[in-house]
């Protein structure tokens, strides 16, 4: 497993201070928006359900930082983090969660379907497994058109047990497609420990050989490790060498969704992973390697203000216009099914 132990370097290594600050900024911003989303739930300003990625920010930040703007990301219903990491506006995300006009999709998609194609976010998919074949298809399009675009597809450990996982991995490998499959193994398939419903220890990594792929298992809570792994897999895809399957070990601090207090998790396990919270760990690493705390504090303050502003903007945005119900079923903007 690739961990910080064998990747730890000084600030003047190939990642560099500037990128590291950006990686921290991205993680901190995601955490701040997710926490705000949680608060807004409690105030009943966000309805429906929501699947927070608090604790899993390093995977989103590390990959997004490794992608070119024209690359594509595909993620699951736990997709706020990946959407924000690619550069989607906080107001757009919070507005969508709150069902407001300013939402990324005008309120028509909701928390589980965040999409922002201007930032390469090709959708959040709420049926487990569906987006693996779809990301594979986008990669096929890049290969066919001869662009050097790469599709990156994020999914949870539970996805490795659904048929679409197998179908997508198989076809991506046969066709040598520029797609990177990233399993965020947070140890729980909804409410059930993944080990209880999976015949192998590492649900993605242990299956890579079935598709002729390398076994890649990394510490998904160390953004440096994620970033390095992402860069190498994306470079491989861009060079035409085919797909990768990466398993990043991580942990969600909250339950599966809004409705889940996550009482099924042993206290010691939660405590151990809380000590491995990617954000304070990385903050500490920045300070140890010479970044002044005032610099970090200023960045954090700036993000907090941005989240407050986004919250206010989303709160003051009206609900979507009623006409939206009948808009965009078809490409002509309408919904007519008869003449």
């Amino acid at each position: 497993m690739r961990t910080a132990a064998n990747s730890r370097t000084e600030m003047n290594d190939e990642i560099g201070a500037e990128t590291r600050l950006a990686l921290y900024r991205s993680q901190f911003a995601i955490r701040s928006v997710e926490k705000r989303a949680y608060d807004l739930f409690l105030q009943n300003l966000i309805k429906g359900t929501s699947h927070l990625a608090i604790g899993q920010e390093a995977v989103a930040a590390g990959f997004a930082m490794s992608m070119k703007p024209e690359d594509w990301s595909f993620c699951t219903y736990r997709g706020h983090a990946h959407t924000l990491a690619r550069g989607a506006s906080m107001t757009g995300v919070l507005g969508e969660l709150m069902g407001r006009e300013c939402g990324l999709m005008g309120g028509k998609g909701g928390s589980m379907h965040l999409t922002d194609i201007d930032n390469g976010v090709m959708g959040s998919y709420a049926i487990v497994g569906a987006h693996l074949p779809i990301a594979m298809g986008a990669a096929w399009s890049a290969q066919y058109r001869g662009t050097d675009q790469v599709a990156v597809c994020f999914f949870g450990d539970g996805t490795t047990n659904i048929g679409a996982f197998h179908e997508a991995l198989s076809m991506a490998s046969i066709w040598k497609l520029p797609v990177v499959f990233v399993c965020e193994n947070n140890l729980y398939m909804e409410y059930t420990p993944i080990a209880a419903v999976t015949p192998v220890k590492n649900p993605a990594a242990d299956r890579a050989s079935a598709y002729g792929l390398d076994r890649i298992l990394i510490d998904g809570n160390d953004v440096d490790v994620v970033y390095r792994t992402a860069r190498s897999a994306i470079a491989r895809a861009r060079a035409g060498a085919g797909p990768s399957l990466i398993e990043a070990l991580t942990y969600r601090h909250h339950g599966h969704s809004r409705a889940d207090p996550a009482k099924y998790r042993p206290t010691e396990e939660v405590a151990a992973w809380m000590k491995r919270d990617p954000i304070p760990l990385y903050r500490q690493r920045l300070i140890e390697s010479g970044v002044g705390e005032p610099t970090i504090l200023a960045m954090e303050e700036e993000i907090k203000q941005a989240v407050d502003q986004a919250t206010d903007a989303a709160k003051s945005s009206p609900p979507p216009a009623d006409e939206l119900i009948y808009k965009d079923v078809w490409a002509n903007g309408g919904w007519a099914w008869r003449n």
Partner: protein
């Protein structure tokens, strides 16, 4: 005009569009080297090469997922699902992903793709390779649904489906692949959402689809010759969008309306049309609407049983006579 088989018209329609537009690509099981299990894609691999005409594993979710991912990033894929029964294997892609993505993303994502599939009975394949499932697709907002009955329509409507900016499910009838018909020379592009009047009559109006169109026409000839009943036959061709204008105009002329549906009875496409007619055209009717459908059973395999299950020309004649007497 050249005479083509229904199956050759499929390849001709795809080839016409692949020639004019490099973004058109094909994928599916056995479609390339083997030319398709129904030989409907013969010659495409030789003409357009393996990058544009791709054989896939037996993996329907991957086929439709690939088509969707490719469509949202600039291609116009034509995906084959060998038997329409197999749509059940990848129904998530059809019903949840492809149909809803434009709407859910507030128009950010377009999916110009075609799902071609072999539909219908008459081949003694049994209940899992013979179904008429066009009504499944019709029930999902966001899908256009087409089912041609002639070689000319196959070519013209397939070309239109490929050019259409929305996802189209294209039901080819397996029992029609060997039939022949005149197909216009040169570029031929039809219009989605239009019905065709195949026979003009004055006593009854029959709406049919796919294989039921030639059977309705045969029934109409017998009604005329043996019973002096003059029937209009409408080939519905497109379930979504539905050409209610043409259908309603013909019903108004005769006052008697029949549907001939290969799908099992419950929630068949004719039920929707009948309900529209009852709501909007009631005062033009001289008699109750009658639906002639496959009974609500899975299809049996034995030739005798299958033939008795799917509506035949004889059953159409019989039903119409009974309701007119």
């Amino acid at each position: 005009m050249a005479e083509l088989t229904y199956r050759d018209a499929v390849a001709a329609g795809i080839a016409q569009e692949m020639e004019r537009d490099n973004s058109v690509v094909c994928l599916g099981e056995d479609i390339a080297a083997a030319g398709g299990v129904f030989k409907a894609t013969v010659g495409l691999l030789e003409k357009f090469g393996p990058l544009r005409v791709r054989d896939t594993p037996i993996a329907e979710q991957a086929i439709l997922g690939a088509a969707m991912g490719a469509a949202m990033t600039g291609l116009r894929p034509v995906a084959e699902i060998m038997f329409s029964d197999f749509l059940a294997v990848c129904w998530d892609m059809v019903a949840n992903e492809i149909a809803k993505t434009r709407y859910m993303t507030n128009g950010q994502i377009s999916l110009p793709l075609v799902i071609r599939t072999g539909n219908g009975g008459g081949s003694r394949f049994g209940a899992q390779h013979s179904q008429s499932v066009e009504n499944w697709a019709m029930a999902i907002p966001g899908l256009k649904v087409v089912a041609p009955s002639t070689p000319a329509d196959v070519k013209g409507l397939l070309a239109a489906a490929i050019r259409d900016p929305d996802p189209v499910v294209f039901f080819e009838h397996k029992a029609l692949y060997a039939t022949k018909g005149e197909v216009p020379d040169g570029e031929h592009v039809d219009t989605l959402g239009t019905a065709a009047i195949r026979r003009q009559g004055s006593d009854v109006t029959i709406a049919a689809l796919g294989l039921m169109v030639p059977r309705a026409l045969e029934a109409a000839e017998r009604l005329q010759a043996e019973h002096r009943i003059s029937a209009t036959v409408i080939d519905v061709r497109s379930l979504v969008p539905l050409d209610t204008r043409t259908i309603f105009a013909e019903i108004s002329k005769t006052g008697r309306f029949y549907t001939v549906e290969e799908n099992p009875r419950l929630c068949g496409w004719g039920a929707e049309i009948s309900s529209l007619v009852a709501e909007e055209l009631f005062w033009d009717l001289d008699a109750p609407i009658t639906r002639i459908t496959t009974p609500h059973v899975p299809l049996p395999a034995a030739d005798r049983l299958e033939d008795l299950t799917i509506p035949s020309a004889a059953r159409i004649v019989e039903t119409i006579l009974k309701t007119i007497d």
